[in-house]
């Protein structure tokens, strides 16, 4: 239990990310936050599951709960580009208890992880599990949704609450998917994503988090 200090719920980084002290972030040096993104409490970011260029199984064992112990991996990261496991853009919002898990693939008998890229203005709902290869900009993932391994959510994709996007699925832009397994059930209107309207609330959300906050 972290001490309930008067410091406040969120750590604010130089670029304006607001990260809950109660979030569980593993492998911080493999995670890139674009700035002004929010990670809520109990969200899990598995930054420790990064790609190993050589077939090194060391990444299979996540370090225990502490978030800064991954510096002691056996192989020093040769190329910082290759060891990014999660990158999140600006004004994205990771809700409570969401899990971001980099996708993996068995390639030539070697199980290796691939980076999970999340774009700008993305909303990830509560208790959702994201194992996608890429999540575009302005994507909305509802609560209790599951986005399977190596799925691709293009810009302005909309995943309804409780949807299970199967692994490898591509959700095209402007499409609404729902159900288990998810299928395309509709399209969102052209006005989606206009600032302040439906889909354009990312800055509003950012301002509302953590009290005060910087100017959007």
């Amino acid at each position: 239990m972290p001490p309930k200090a008067a410091k406040g719920e969120y750590i604010e980084t130089d670029t304006g990310n607001k990260i809950s002290r109660r979030s569980q972030i593993h492998g911080t040096q493999h995670i890139i936050l674009g700035g002004k993104s929010i990670i809520q409490s109990d969200a899990v970011l598995r930054g420790d599951l990064f790609r190993t260029t050589t077939s090194n199984p060391s990444d299979l064992k996540p370090p225990s709960t502490s978030s800064t112990t991954t510096t002691t991996t056996e192989t020093p990261p040769p190329d910082p580009k290759n060891t990014i496991s999660i990158s999140i853009g600006r004004y994205s919002y990771i809700s409570r208890s969401a899990i971001l898990h980099p996708p993996s693939r068995l390639h030539r008998g070697v199980h290796s992880y691939f980076p999970l890229k999340i774009g700008d203005h993305v909303y990830i709902g509560e208790r959702s599990v994201i194992e996608a290869a890429s999540v575009g900009n302005h994507v909305h993932v509802g609560t209790d949704a599951v986005v399977g391994n190596m799925a691709i959510l293009k810009d302005f994709a909309y995943v309804l609450d409780g949807a299970v996007v199967p692994g490898g699925m591509v959700v095209p832009s402007w499409c609404v998917v729902g159900g288990a397994p998810a299928r395309i059930v509709g399209e969102i209107g052209e006005g989606y994503g206009v600032e302040g309207a439906e889909g354009g609330m990312a800055r509003e959300r950012y301002r509302g988090v953590g009290g005060g906050g910087g100017r959007g």
Binding site: G148, N149, K154, D155, F156, L160, V164, P166, G167, G168, M169, V170, V171, P172, S173, W174, C175, V176, P181, R183, I184, G186, I188, G189, E190, G191, Y192, G193, V194, G196, A197, E198, G199
Partner: protein, 637 residues
């Protein structure tokens, strides 16, 4: 998609105009206001006359006119909001949602709207299939299968393997159309054994097997037709094309067929281009018809595509359904069968489905044919060449509860947590006034005057009282952002915004305003639910103050009330107690009338002499009016 509270829906006025309305374009130009508080909109005659002026968000008719604001477009020529019902769509391009490759329109027309590449959906669960190497074969050259990552279905379940990992669609089409009739029990358990799996290439060695015996009496022993359905369709198509060609090119009955098959020479030439591959197979039948009576005949033999089901085919299917090795799981569900050929009955007959294409569409105004939305041509692009969305014209409406000012007792805690008592919109206490902040944000480059109007009591059984404290106000123009930044140093209202908790809502005054937005206060007293409010009285004793017709109510409805339940079914006998589903949702109809001075030059010719500002000065007075519905919250019982 239901939305969380608070939400805004906007009613497109097209719901009240009959669909074929040729005069609509002209009328809209003459008077841009489709309805104003003074002049009520044309109401449908079938409506009852109890309330002509206000919009009832609960009437069944309004279901069809309420749209979330981001779905609405705006026609600059008609000066009207356009909902999906008042537009026409044209396909810009078709693309596969899975591989995002564009399919040309000509190919869509000829090949059907399915992906011609490697994209397939699982026939069992509709998840996308992936091409995977068969593991136990080893090596990189082994056979490939399509497998579903969601339900673990593979094409091995139906006995299909592929030789190449590319161009799967063509390989599958070859198998389904040109395949020799599968042996009878293929679709039983034997299909899973590897010995029964046929290579797609091997089936061409036995091309003679495709021709069943000429006389239709002895069909093959399996229950299905001599060929697959696709093959039969292809054969029939070829046969009738040949029939048309042979009967028309010899000139017999040109009067009959000449008009029926327009320009036969051209048609036959085109057909010969496309059907060259199949002609050698059926050449003999084509020659046969060139005998004396050159009249079109029907398909008579198996190779021509005729299939006569065996008399006991139905009972065979029934027997197989009843057998133990089929069971419930072996039967294809209705949903699965709806995407397959009609004679598929069993899970083991399911074929992978090529992905349905999607389309990007441009949208036009139905009445004036102007383009409202034109997306970029490329399937991957999310940009638009033209995008006239309503949100850039009508004010963007946001609603949020006004946090009550902290009382003097809780000043110490309220400094750290100002939202000490946040209003739970999902459970609004009835009969307790709440204040809401209604913010309208202008996206136009002209300042706008707004007049809001709302019925003082919301329609429906749950009557909530609504008061807009400042129904008339201005919104500034959507000017340069720097204007606000420069003004903010001096403007006093910025200071007032810094401490909103000390403000008290006053009638006739706007709550707050900014560069291009204005906030007013809405006071709402949520009404009591019929069952909930009367509940204490009922529990106390008799329902004496209820309506007299309550006595004829059935017993179980009274029992329900005694248990403190609201009759949600909407079927109760007592109209006072009847609550329709979602009747506890507090929805406020608000009439918005906006007028502004537009200096758009193009508008003048359209407006004619209607512009108040006069011809050459360029300022034209514009008006737009619509109903919107604010979904505030749900009233708790």
């Amino acid at each position: 998609m239901s939305r969380p509270f608070p939400y805004t829906y906007i009613s497109c006025p097209c719901a009240n105009t009959p669909v074929p309305d040729p005069s609509r374009k002209r009328r809209s130009r003459e008077s841009p206001q489709k309805g104003s508080p003074e002049k009520p909109r044309p109401q449908p005659q079938i409506d009852d006359d109890e309330d002509e002026q206000t919009f009832d968000p609960r009437s069944p008719r309004s279901n069809f006119s309420l749209y979330p604001p981001e779905q609405l477009l705006y026609c600059e020529d008609c000066h009207q909001i356009k909902c999906p019902r008042c537009i026409t769509e044209e396909i810009v391009c078709a693309y596969c949602p899975n591989c995002l490759f564009e399919t040309p329109n000509s190919l869509v027309r000829s090949e059907g709207n399915r992906c011609a590449r490697n994209c397939f959906n699982c026939p069992a669960c509709t998840a996308p299939l992936s091409v995977t190497l068969l593991e136990n074969a080893g090596g990189e050259s082994g056979p490939w299968v399509l497998s579903c990552g969601y339900c673990m279905w593979t094409t091995l379940d139906v006995g299909i393997k592929f030789d190449k990992p590319t161009n799967i669609r063509a390989q599958l089409t070859k198998m389904t159309t040109d395949a020799s009739p599968p042996p009878g029990p293929r679709t039983r358990q034997m299909s899973k054994t590897f010995s029964d799996l046929r290579s797609p290439l091997s089936m061409f060695s036995s091309i003679d097997d495709q021709f069943p015996p000429k006389d239709g009496a002895e069909q093959p022993t399996n229950t299905s037709a001599p060929r697959t359905r696709d093959a039969r369709f292809a054969a029939l198509k070829t046969f009738y094309k040949d029939q048309i060609a042979t009967t028309t090119e010899t000139g017999v009955d040109p009067g009959d067929f000449g008009t029926q098959f327009s320009s036969p020479n051209t048609l036959s030439r085109i057909m010969s281009i496309y059907t060259q591959s199949r002609r050698p197979l059926l050449g003999n039948t084509g020659k046969k018809t060139q005998t004396r009576p050159l009249v079109m005949r029907e398909a008579l033999t198996g190779p021509e595509g005729l299939s006569i089901p065996k008399p006991d085919s139905e009972s065979t299917i029934i027997e197989r359904m009843a057998s133990d090795d089929c069971g419930w799981d072996g039967l294809a569900s209705l949903e699965q069968r709806s995407f397959q050929s009609p004679d598929v009955r069993f899970v083991q007959d399911l074929l992978p489905l090529p992905s349905l294409l999607r389309s990007k569409r441009s949208k036009r105004c139905k009445s004036c044919k102007h383009i409202l939305v034109k997306p970029e041509y490329k399937p991957q692009s999310t940009r638009f060449r033209i995008r006239l969305i309503a949100l850039s014209y009508i004010p963007l409406t946001t609603l949020r509860p006004l946090v009550p000012p902290p009382t003097s007792t809780s000043t110490s805690t309220s400094t750290s947590t100002p939202q000490s008592q946040p209003t739970n919109l999902d459970a609004l206490p009835p009969q307790k006034p709440i204040q809401l902040l209604l913010t309208l944000k202008n996206h136009m480059f002209d300042p706008v005057r707004i007049t809001l109007a709302t019925p003082s009591v919301t329609p429906g059984h749950v009557a909530s009282k609504v008061t807009i404290l400042c129904p008339q106000f201005d919104i500034g123009a959507n000017s340069d952002v720097w204007d606000e930044a420069l003004q903010s140093a001096t403007a006093p209202d910025r200071l007032s915004r810094a401490s909103p908790y000390e403000k008290v809502a006053e009638a006739g005054k706007v709550w707050d305003r900014g560069r291009n937005w204005t906030t007013v206060v809405l006071e709402v007293v949520p009404g009591a639910l019929p069952g909930g409010a009367k509940l204490p009285k009922i529990l106390r004793g008799d329902d004496s103050d209820d309506d007299s017709d309550d006595s004829d109510g059935s017993d179980d409805s009274n029992n329900k009330e005694a248990k403190g339940q609201v009759d949600w079914s909407g079927q109760g006998k007592d109209p006072g107690r009847r609550v329709q589903p979602d009747e506890d949702v507090l929805e406020i109809p608000v009439f918005v009338r906006m007028d502004w001075d537009s200096d758009n030059q193009i508008d003048q010719e359209g407006m004619g002499g209607k512009g108040i500002g006069g011809g050459e000065s360029g300022a034209v007075k514009r008006e737009l009016a619509y109903w919107m519905v604010l979904g505030v919250g749900r009233i708790s019982t």
